[in-house]
Assembly symmetry: D2
């Protein structure tokens, strides 16, 4: 089968012809209908420090996808050939303390698709039965593919507790934009996005943001203070992964407010702890999605929200390089790859 | 009357003879029976950067106290001469957004006793009626005086949600020590304290800590990992106010755990945000006490816990210098001053 | 001044000329611009068992209102003549355990306007300064008058935790209808109302309900099961105050769901406790509003929601009898009385 | 093998020689070391209405046990022969909405050991791998057997949120008694038990209750009011399953308090809904245990609490009739049966 493989410890990836995988006991073989490129894939493509320390080559990249079950291995009881599915990308053990207390998404023994084992930028993928999610038949494959990152946005907004609140989001990437739509759908009183790219700010407004400001044109903290009579936003989500954004997020949140830490700044961020203390801010780290509570919530929201404006490019798998390049230049938001074309 | 006054913009303070205050409308005049020295008083005494920026001299220092109502001003309806009282030190406005949503302790217009107005290191103090708390008659004045910082410990432990949890406390100061006792009383499964002073570690154990370790003798993070099969503590309270402790606290808390930020590190602390994110840690700033929810909870706990071992020195007000010196050398834990002697 | 007074221990009320009240210390005299009739007023008018046991006659009725401060008594510091205000109707003591822990709305010593002291169906009313709420100047008096019951709906929906949920509301009275709008605004995924009056069901849909069903035409429990693949609604609010509705509410809520008890059935309701247990339902009693957290939340929502369709009748105070009659026949929803006309 | 079998649709059960079960795919065969009699077993033994409607005969009774894995079927990966285990008795599907949102204990497709399939009153039992729990090797079989009902008590107390609270428990059965110990361990300020049997009240005190009162000798509601200055208990747990207790529980809980509904009254209980509303009580249904969050919590508590006083009788399996008789007369608390003797 064709697959996009990380073959060398350097930037880039290659389209190769490799053997299709076969499902072992408890595993499912899925024919990929659509797969999408995530920020994590960019890190692996660019071969940053995190990728160097974590990825074993050669490995097939990718983890967001939708497809059809082609074959099931032994010991599989709840999935059948022909099922239209996506998958939770965090393969949890189900037996550790964290799995036991309902936090399988931060399982001590987690293995991640496309990071710790072969991924979805290929004609076929094999995943354990327990991470398979059956999609509604009328959900287009491109949307079913991006429901994994959509789940990130849903999980972050749920933990942010936005109902009736004034919400500030830093970051105009895919998750930040999705978060605008989710925050509105889950009852935020106001949603304000801070970003850098004009087209994305427009998209934020189209997705439901009440305001979208360019961090280069105006001081976001001053802006939020103006909108809130000096008080600050009830909830701030840091989804830019930038030191400046994180520090501004702490400035912009009101006393007694919540700051969702979602982005991954590349270096340590110096924080003014007394500010955090005197304001009694709650800084809440958020990663992944609840398995499968978030999937249930996302299923409902997907029936109401139109995520298709986020898909800016649809390409055959063979043109994956173009997709990566556009994303690296921030000229694309979500790129879908079709192995079948 | 006699009062300890901050008179000059430099380290130190003076015992002076000043006019006793008179209660205005809505105010209460209290004759001080016992007053105690807090870390904030040390900052003012030493005249650190925070003190320079906040304190207007001359001003009477001190805010922890117990005493008897001497006289009430006009418009006072719920307090009478002779009442045995302490006081909430955060004078809240009652009218701002934060007061309205039940967070008067972080009121936008807060005024703090001994910081923004004359304090309790004197024979008399005047406070607004609305911050007066009536003490049980059998509570000794020295304990009634330290119920204000005890409230800090209670509030921190309540927000830490310790029932059934393995709890790690950084800091062997008054609040860290009190927190050991409160955590045990509120159902912590294990309480471990990290400190620096042998005598205080012993006191931690006497107050209920299961273990008390010297941060200079052993790596607290390694120690906690050993006790928790590598998982980390469910809850960590940073009550040392030191950069190293804060960073260790983040290392020591388990995935999905809570980190209470209570101490005030003097400089910005560089934090590994991806660690916070991937572990889904909640960093919760905690300051003051709920007004008056924490006072109600503290009243119950005071009937069960013996705080007197924390009072290491009892001095006449005139010997306040000795108290300050002992505290600055960490040779005392809690120093009570008696204006009446 | 003119006032609607309950004068006799029997059904009815009288318009009388009485002395205008004068504000004592800590009190405020308000000239009523608009006042509205609540279900509680109907009980007093009809003189039901509860009214007989609680109301001391003669007493001026009414508690929902908006008006202008005419005069302030001694000891009033935060309200001035000319202020445009409404009032929290639960006059809390501020000193009991429940007030201390942030539950002043269920204060042990509560006194209710129009129930325990003279109310607002008059040209003037006197209330304590501490329950006065300043309205936005652009809020019409008729809306400012019904913000008190609107606060009930907001408080109930906040406690119901509706974001992302499928919500079923029993009762097409004022609060049930308001709750449809609030639930939608605070992120409910679906809102279904069960009522009895066609016109009200239409209004429910206009205010945001996805479905509004007539309890006489269809079995609400069966209907909800159909909509939820047999699971039940995530959240059910009982706002009808009827035994049948309460029992159906327990049937209709899904395992692990929430049932808000808001209505007041006139007799004890036999409940199937094992059903409640096996489904792990949470039945949450809700009354009044948080003072003043709900008022802050309501202020935001009032800037987004149009409540005017709920006002079906506007009358001069002298025609109060007509308003009561229409309400008793359920031919009106909200009736505004204007003392100034 | 020997087994206690419900063979006829009438009171009683029989010791029979039956074929030992064999583990199918995903199943585990366990040799029973100790098994204990639960209230549910009594209902089946007595053949009450619930048993008539639910139990298919013939069926082996029992569900609380500890034992050693004898053999594992195909597809079993995490359990091995020789493992010392107990089991969660709720066999959840893992695929329904409730399992997905973390509420597998109220799974829509739940199957219960000893109720819906053969149980543990036998030499061997077969259970699915996913409900097996590995015990600490030093936990005596009789304690490991009763950790299942202990989990009920832990789950109930966790949901009751007892830390710092005044807690009233109705019911001197096994769970009520265990709940005294758990409430104390998880930080309750006061624990008061209401029961009927003198010996059990003494045991409640031995397990940590501050007071244990006989409902026949004193009015529990009046008693609690006396202890709480008329306010009521912060938290009340109804673990008696009696109508009178449920009604008293609602009377005894303070405004803003929590009432845990755990017992199963045999008939509908008429409830005063306005009381529940005006007091803003939360009535929380509690059943089973979180799978496996409660097991983790219980593991910690078992290392601190001594449950052995609850085991009043230890019998060979062949003398099960004696155990049932003693329990039906309330002459025993917990009866352990040993198939190996």
């Amino acid at each position: 089968m064709k697959a996009v493989v990380k073959t060398k410890p350097e930037p880039g990836a290659e389209l190769q012809e490799v053997d299709a995988p076969t499902p072992g006991p408890g595993e499912v073989l899925i024919k990929i209908a659509a797969t999408s490129i995530c920020g994590t894939d960019l890190h692996i493509y660019e071969w940053n420090d995190w990728a160097k320390s974590r990825i074993r080559i050669p490995q097939i990249m990718g983890h967001e996808f939708a497809g059809y079950v082609e074959e099931v291995g032994a010991e599989v009881h709840t999935v059948s050939p022909g099922d239209y599915v996506s998958a939770e990308t965090h393969i949890y053990c189900g037996k550790c303390f964290l799995c036991h207390i309902g936090k399988a998404h931060i399982c001590r023994n987690v293995e991640i698709l496309g990071v710790d084992r072969d991924g979805s930028f290929a004609e076929y993928i094999v995943v354990p039965e327990r991470v398979v999610w059956k999609n509604a038949l009328d959900l287009p494959p491109k949307v079913a593919s991006i429901r994994e990152p959509f789940g990130n946005a849903v999980h972050a907004i749920k933990r942010a507790q936005v109902a009736g609140k004034r919400v500030l989001i830093f970051g105009d990437g895919t998750i930040g934009l999705m978060a605008c739509a989710v925050a509105k759908a889950l009852g935020a009183y106001s949603v304000w996005l801070v970003g850098l790219v004009k087209r994305r700010l427009e998209l934020a407004r189209a997705l439901g943001a009440d305001e979208a400001v360019n961090a280069r044109a105006a001081d976001p903290v001053a802006q939020v203070r103006k909108w809130t009579e000096g008080l600050g936003a009830d909830v701030v989500l840091e989804m830019a992964g930038a030191e400046a954004a994180f520090r501004q997020a702490l400035e912009a949140v009101r006393p007694g407010g919540r700051l969702i830490a979602f982005g991954l700044p590349p270096r340590e961020v110096p924080l003014d702890i007394p500010q955090l203390v005197f304001k009694e801010v709650e800084v809440v780290g958020v990663v992944g999605r609840h398995i499968f509570g978030t999937w249930e919530q996302a299923t409902r929201l997907l029936s109401r929200l139109d995520l298709s404006p986020l898909v800016t490019h649809e390409l055959p798998l063979s043109e994956f390089q173009l997709g990566f390049e556009k994303l690296l230049r921030r000229a694309a938001i979500k790129v879908i790859l079709y192995p079948g074309e």
